[in-house]
């Protein structure tokens, strides 16, 4: 392309090494890939195939009697018909949580990246610090905070934001709150990384060119932070959708998400074909959403 003719290029590579060394250097990238590829093959691809096979087993089998491979594609519509509310709820809850997390996380990441000065590192540690304790313990702590006898509920009842017997725990609110809280750092960190790279001189230039602070944000800051927004959104949304701990600890069966159903299919009801089929349905739905999202958002930086 003629475009390339004008691009300043760094001085050319030194002449290619002679044949023998060239052969080895061509192999080198594959050798470097080998350990990771082997890991993925053993711990990701093979289990995935096994899971795919399990999703097509005869549903009338059981662990004690054994399963027969009958290519039972009917497992999929059956599972969907039975559990579509939980699947829909998963996406609904994590979508709401995502919006909340973006509303909180963007200003937070922006503040840390552009305005925090010497507090930057401390604040970053504060964002990551909760991860030093277990996910489970933190969610249990929320259970205490939101409990009916806790001060939060007491206060809300006193100011009549909650009715006399109103509660927070075991409501959709608690589950969404738990999801928002638990996955917020996954959103904030990539956002921070992209906002930290933002050159403040670009905002000066925008301001010099008649952009009000709001316009400058909309036309410069936001577009330049889109790779961070997209990466953060994916890192938040994918695990949040598959999560079952928050619904389990902070909700009731009425708030159960698809993760809870898969959990019980494998560990309680021991219905392997159904658990596997639901897992694949969830995976397919997430992949479809991510694909559409990336096509719409259209960034080369993430993929």
């Amino acid at each position: 392309m003629s475009a390339l003719a004008h691009v300043p290029t760094s001085s050319g590579q030194p002449a290619a090494p002679p044949g023998a060394r060239r052969g080895r250097s061509r192999l080198l990238p594959y050798l470097l890939l080998l350990p990771g590829a082997a890991w993925l093959l053993v711990f990701f691809v093979l289990p995935l195939l096994q899971l795919a096979a399990a999703s097509l087993y005869d549903p009338s089998g059981s662990i004690s009697t054994g399963y027969a491979m009958t290519w039972a594609f009917g497992n999929y519509p059956d599972a969907l018909q039975q559990y579509w509310p939980q699947l829909a709820r998963s996406f609904g809850y994590s979508a709401i949580a995502l919006v909340l997390a973006l509303l909180m996380g963007y200003p937070l990441a922006y503040g840390i990246a552009q305005k925090a000065g010497r507090w930057k590192n401390l604040l970053l540690v504060a964002v990551v610090a909760p991860m030093f304790t277990s996910f489970l313990v933190r969610t249990l702590a929320w259970k205490t905070i939101l409990s009916d006898n806790g001060w939060v509920v007491g206060l809300l009842r006193d100011v009549h934001l909650l009715g006399a017997d109103g509660r927070l725990l075991a409501t959709p609110f608690a589950v969404v709150l738990g999801l928002t809280y638990n996955f917020l750092p996954f959103l904030v960190l990539p956002l921070y990384a992209s906002l930290e790279r933002l050159d403040p001189r670009l905002l000066e230039a925008a301001s010099d060119l008649y952009a009000s602070p709001l316009r400058a944000f909309q036309k410069v800051t936001l577009p330049l932070s889109m790779p961070g927004v997209i990466a953060g959104t994916l890192l938040f949304f994918i695990p949040a959708t598959g999560d079952y701990i928050n619904a389990e600890l902070l909700g009731t069966p009425n708030e159960y998400m698809i993760g809870n159903v898969i959990d019980s299919a494998f560990l309680v009801r021991l219905d392997y074909p159904q658990g596997a089929a639901l897992s694949f349905l969830l995976m397919a739905a997430i992949l479809a959403i991510v694909f559409v999202y990336l096509r719409k958002a259209g960034t080369e930086e993430v993929l």
Binding site: V7, R201, S207, D208, L209, S212, V220, L224
Partner: protein
């Protein structure tokens, strides 16, 4: 209305900027006439960029006024000022193509049809057909021209240029200097150009203000500044000077008499910034001529003796250092015009000058001779 200043003059009145205890700009007052090419020249840290940023609105003055015509714009937010800037780093928007970069200012002011104006502006800076490229696909010189187009398209009353050529290599810089001057003449907008490169300031600007430590040392046409500097700082910053420490001994007719290192000299009164007390007697190196002995000094010239201590051949000229009996090294440039031979190191010489080319500057008592050590300045700008 009814004031003396024309509508478009830019005036800075008692402008001061302090950062904590550091005074970056110190009670600066100056008037920049509408349509002129004005250069603020100074070393880094002298306050020139801070001054520029206060005009742009990117820095708030501690005190003082920025007036455009009769209007004080010092309190206006940058996006409300009829002023645009070409930034040192260009600050092009990396996510927008060249067309949208140039159209940015127009769009923010709500102008819908921008294509024609953008095309015209791109052709003014000789970048037709580059509209769909991203800034990263252009060379430094091309990016610089996009930055210029992006600012000029808004027809600002004043265009501010913050070391715009600093990142370019020498040859490109020369080329852009000529181009900038051409564009300024073409559009007739007031240009305020900040630079630390004296040659750049002198080639382009109608008026140069030399800044030092937050103040203006001298302001004037480039030739006036060079031929008759007001302070030792200007004499050394703008080109090179031989400054001999001496004592002025009053007038004699139209001349001021000076004693320096035991010899008596004189300077026309019109070229003396001081006529008593401690002074510097200044002569530019190219105005200092070397001959074999006092008998060859032309009538009316003044002279002193020395020994050639260094000779550097630089093509157009040979640059000599002459060691005086009291140990100072004067520099003298001799044009390689084919007249006269080269003087080897160690030759005793007589350096002479026309007193009408010398100048007298005030000197703080105790300051010794100031002579430029050697040769051309290193190419500036490469590091900025």
């Amino acid at each position: 209305m009814g004031h003396e200043t024309p509508a478009g003059d830019l005036r800075l009145a008692n402008l001061t900027k302090r950062f904590g205890v550091f005074t970056a700009v110190d009670d600066l007052s100056l008037t920049i006439p509408q349509g002129s090419f004005f250069a603020l020249l100074g070393a880094s840290g002298c306050g020139k960029t801070t001054t520029l940023r206060m005009i742009a609105g990117l820095e708030e003055p501690t005190s003082g006024q920025v007036l455009l015509g009769d209007r004080d714009i010092a309190g206006l937010r940058p996006y409300k000022r009829p002023v645009n800037t070409v930034f040192q780093s260009y600050a092009l928007f990396p996510h927008l193509d060249i067309h949208e970069n140039v159209a940015f200012g127009l769009r923010r002011r709500g102008i819908r049809k921008v294509t024609d104006q953008v095309e015209r502006m791109l052709s003014l800076v000789q970048l037709e057909g580059y509209g769909r490229r991203k800034p990263a696909q252009l060379s430094g010189g091309q990016q610089q021209r996009v930055a210029l187009a992006r600012a000029l398209i808004n027809h600002p009353q004043v265009l501010l240029l913050d070391e715009p050529l600093g990142a370019l290599d020498l040859k490109l810089r020369r080329q852009m200097q000529i181009e900038l001057k051409r564009i300024q003449t073409e559009v007739g907008i007031t240009f305020v150009h900040v630079t630390h490169d004296q040659e750049e300031a002198m080639t382009m600007a109608d008026t140069v203000a030399v800044m030092n430590a937050g103040r203006i040392e001298q302001l004037g046409a480039p030739a006036d500044l060079y031929e008759y500097p007001a302070t030792a700082f200007v004499a050394n910053f703008l080109g090179q000077s031989n400054l001999l420490a001496g004592e002025a001994a009053g007038h004699s007719g139209d001349d001021v008499l000076v004693t320096a290192h035991g010899a008596r000299f004189s300077v026309p009164a019109g070229r003396a910034r001081a006529d008593h007390g401690s002074v510097f007697l200044g002569v530019r190196p190219e105005k200092l001529h070397l001959v074999a002995g006092p008998d060859q000094v032309p009538a009316g010239h003044q002279h002193l003796g020395g020994v050639v201590s260094d000779a550097s051949y630089v093509g157009v000229s040979t640059q000599y250092l002459v060691r005086t009996p009291w140990g100072s090294e004067l520099s003298a440039f001799a044009a390689n015009s084919g007249v006269g031979g080269r003087l080897p190191v160690g030759t005793p010489v007589t350096a002479h000058w026309d007193p009408r080319h010398a100048f007298l500057l005030p000197r703080a008592a105790g300051e010794d001779d100031q002579t430029s050590p050697l040769l051309d300045e290193p190419p500036v700008g490469a590091l900025s």
